[in-house]
C-alpha cells in the first residue's frame, strides 16, 4: 500500500515536470511576482520614507506564501479534474491501489513543489534584501506545508464541484482568491461586513495567514495553537466531506 503511494508520487512528479507550463504556473509565476514586488519594495524603501500599504511592506513574504498556496491548490484542482475527465482516476482505481493513495500522491507532489517554490522565494528575498535574514525558514516552511495541506482539503471539495476540466481553473480561482481577500491579510478581519467575517472564520486562509505571519516574525508555534487547531479541524471536516462527495468519474 505505502509502496504503491511512493511509486505513484515519484511517477506523478516525473510526469509533472515534463509539462513546462505546469511548472511555470505553479513555481515560476509565484516566484516571479514575488521578485517584482520585492524589487518594488526595495526601491521605495531606498528612496525615502515608506508610503506603501503595510501589507506590502511588512507582509510581502506572507503574501508570497499565500500566493504559493493558491497556485498549489488551483493546480491540484485542475489535475484532479483533468484526470477525472480522462478516465485516469477510474483506471487507477481499478488496480490494487487504495483510492486515498491515488489522491494522496498528488498532494505529496504538490507539497514537494510548494517547498521548492518557497525555497526559491527565500533566495530571491535575500537577493533583494526584503528582510528574510534571521527568519526561521524551516519553521516557516513547516507552517506553509501545514497550511497548504489544510487548504488542499478545500481544493478536493472544489474539485468535486467543478463540472469539467475546462472550468476547474476559473472556478477554483473565483473561490480561492476572494477567500484570501477575506483572510485578514489585506485588511483586518474586524473591518469586514459580518457575513464576510463569518466566511473568513470558517475558511482556512484566515488561520493560515495568522500562523504564517506569526512564525515569520519569530513567534512560537505554541502562541499560535489556536490557528493550528483551527486548521486541523478544518482539514478533518473538509476531508471528511470531500471523501463523501468526491466524484471519481
Amino acid at each position: 500500500m505505502l509502496r504503491g503511494l511512493w511509486r505513484l508520487t515519484w511517477l506523478e512528479t516525473k510526469i509533472f515536470v515534463r509539462e513546462p507550463m505546469g511548472v511555470i504556473g505553479t513555481v515560476g509565476v509565484p516566484v516571479l511576482i514575488f521578485i517584482v514586488l520585492a524589487r518594488m519594495v526595495a526601491e521605495r524603501r531606498d528612496a525615502g520614507p515608506p508610503d506603501m500599504p503595510p501589507f506590502i511592506a511588512g507582509d510581502l513574504p506572507i503574501l508570497g506564501a499565500m500566493f504559493i498556496i493558491a497556485t498549489t491548490v488551483l493546480s491540484l484542482v485542475t489535475i484532479v479534474a483533468v484526470y477525472r475527465e480522462g478516465g485516469i482516476l477510474r483506471r487507477l482505481r481499478a488496480t490494487p491501489l487504495r483510492p486515498p493513495a491515488i489522491l494522496t500522491a498528488h498532494v505529496l507532489v504538490k507539497l514537494l513543489f510548494t517547498a521548492i517554490t518557497l525555497l526559491l522565494m527565500f533566495l530571491a528575498g535575500r537577493r533583494y534584501d526584503v528582510g528574510v535574514d534571521g527568519v526561521p525558514i524551516v519553521s516557516f516552511g513547516a507552517a506553509l506545508l501545514f497550511s497548504t495541506t489544510a487548504i488542499i482539503s478545500l481544493g478536493f471539495l472544489i474539485a468535486s464541484l467543478v463540472p469539467t476540466a475546462r472550468f476547474a481553473q476559473p472556478i477554483g480561482a473565483v473561490i480561492i482568491y476572494p477567500l484570501i481577500g477575506m483572510s485578514g491579510l489585506f485588511v483586518p478581519v474586524e473591518v469586514l461586513p459580518p457575513a464576510l467575517q463569518a466566511v473568513g472564520r470558517a475558511m482556512p486562509f484566515t488561520y493560515a495567514a495568522s500562523l504564517l505571519r506569526g512564525i515569520w516574525h519569530g513567534e512560537t508555534w505554541s502562541s499560535h495553537g489556536g490557528d493550528v487547531l483551527a486548521l486541523t479541524l478544518i482539514f478533518v471536516v473538509f476531508t471528511a466531506v470531500a471523501a463523501r462527495v468526491f466524484r471519481w468519474e
Binding site: I15, G86, I88, R91
Partner: protein
C-alpha cells in the same frame, strides 16, 4: 460436480437515480472461454461489466467472480483479474515502459513487463509518451496493463471502438492469444462482426435485460433459421426441380440464377442432393446465412446502431 464458472451473475439490477441501467441480468461465463456481452450503446453493457469488476455496487443481485464477491473481496479479486476500461486514458506524459513498470509494481506476482511490451508490439514505443500513441497502440498498452498480473480473467470493454479495421484485426488476434494462455475473457462490444469472429459465446443485452445467450451459431440457428441458396445455372428446368424440395419456401428465378429460400441446417444439403439427383448443370453455387446482426434485429425489433 460441474466446474465452477469464472463469473456467475444472477438477477443483477443497477439504477442511477431514477434511470434503470440494468433491469435484471443473469448469465454465467465459463472458465477458458471468450464471452461477449453484445448490444447497442446504452444497453447496460458497461454497467454490468463494472458491477462484475467490483467498480460499481449493484442495487440487487448476486455476483460471484472466481468464487469471490467483487464488492466484499475487491482487493483480493484485483490481484486475479485484469481490466481494460471503456474510454479510459492514462497520464498524457507517462511513458509506455513507466506505465507497465508501475502497474507491475502494484501486483504481488507480476508478469515480465518488457516481454509483455514486446508481445504486444510496443517495443519501439516503450519510451514514448502516452499522448503520442495511436489509438491501436493505446489499446495494446491497455491490454498489456490488463495482463500485467497474469490474471485468470480479463475484462475488455469496447476494446476496438474507434479503431480502423486493420488495427481491429490485430487486436482480435491478441485477444485470441489471451484465451490461448488459458485466461478467460469477458468482453463487451456493439460490433456484431467482432462478436461473431471472436466470441465462443455471447449474451445479447438490450434495455438492461439479457435477451438470449449462446454461441453465435446457436443464436443464428435458433432465431434466424432461414437460409438462402443461390444457384447459377443454365438449366431451364432447374426452378421446377428445386420447387419439389419438401418445405421449400419461395423460389425466384432470374435470367441465370435461382434463389431458393428455406429453413434449417438441413436445407443446404437438400438443395445439393436435388442438384445431384437431377443432374442440374451448376455454374456457381453460394449460400447466404443470417448473421448476429439479423438475430439482434429479430430479437429487439431494431438494429444495433439505432
Amino acid at each position: 460436480m460441474p466446474p465452477q464458472p469464472a463469473i456467475h451473475v444472477a438477477a443483477l439490477r443497477k439504477t442511477y437515480g431514477r434511470t434503470v441501467a440494468v433491469h435484471d441480468v443473469s448469465f454465467d461465463v465459463e472458465a477458458g472461454e471468450i464471452f461477449g456481452l453484445i448490444g447497442p450503446n446504452g444497453a447496460g453493457k458497461t454497467t454490468t461489466m463494472e458491477c462484475v469488476e467490483g467498480l460499481r455496487r449493484p442495487d440487487r443481485g448476486v455476483i460471484s467472480v472466481l468464487g469471490l464477491d467483487p464488492v466484499r473481496d475487491a482487493y483480493a479479486l484485483q490481484q486475479r483479474i485484469g481490466v481494460q476500461l471503456q474510454a479510459a486514458q492514462l497520464q498524457k506524459r507517462i511513458k509506455v515502459r513507466e506505465a507497465v513498470a508501475f502497474w507491475a509494481s502494484l501486483y504481488s506476482k507480476p508478469a515480465d513487463g518488457d516481454r509483455l511490451i514486446e508481445q504486444l508490439g510496443l517495443t519501439d514505443k516503450r519510451h514514448a509518451w502516452f499522448m503520442t500513441l495511436s489509438g491501436g497502440q493505446k489499446q495494446r498498452l491497455f491490454i498489456a496493463l490488463a495482463l500485467i498480473n497474469e490474471p485468470q480473467l480479463v475484462f475488455l470493454d469496447e476494446l476496438t471502438t474507434g479503431l480502423d479495421p486493420q488495427a481491429r484485426r490485430a487486436i482480435w488476434d491478441l485477444v485470441r492469444g489471451i484465451r490461448q494462455r488459458g485466461t478467460t475473457v469477458f468482453l463487451t462490444t456493439h460490433l456484431m462482426e467482432e462478436a461473431e469472429r471472436l466470441c465462443d459465446r455471447v449474451a445479447i443485452i438490450d434495455h438492461g435485460r439479457i435477451i438470449d445467450v449462446g454461441t453465435p451459431a446457436d443464436l443464428v440457428r435458433r432465431h434466424c433459421p432461414e437460409r438462402t441458396v443461390i444457384v447459377e445455372t443454365d438449366d431451364p428446368a432447374a426452378a421446377e426441380r428445386f420447387s419439389a424440395i419438401p418445405q421449400i419456401g419461395p423460389v425466384n428465378r432470374t435470367e441465370s440464377e435461382v434463389s431458393l429460400h428455406g429453413r434449417g441446417d438441413d436445407f443446404v444439403g437438400q438443395v445439393i442432393r436435388c442438384v445431384a439427383e437431377n443432374q442440374i448443370h451448376v455454374i456457381d453455387f453460394r449460400t447466404e446465412t443470417p448473421s448476429l446482426e439479423d438475430v439482434f434485429l429479430r430479437l429487439t425489433g431494431h438494429t444495433i446502431r439505432d
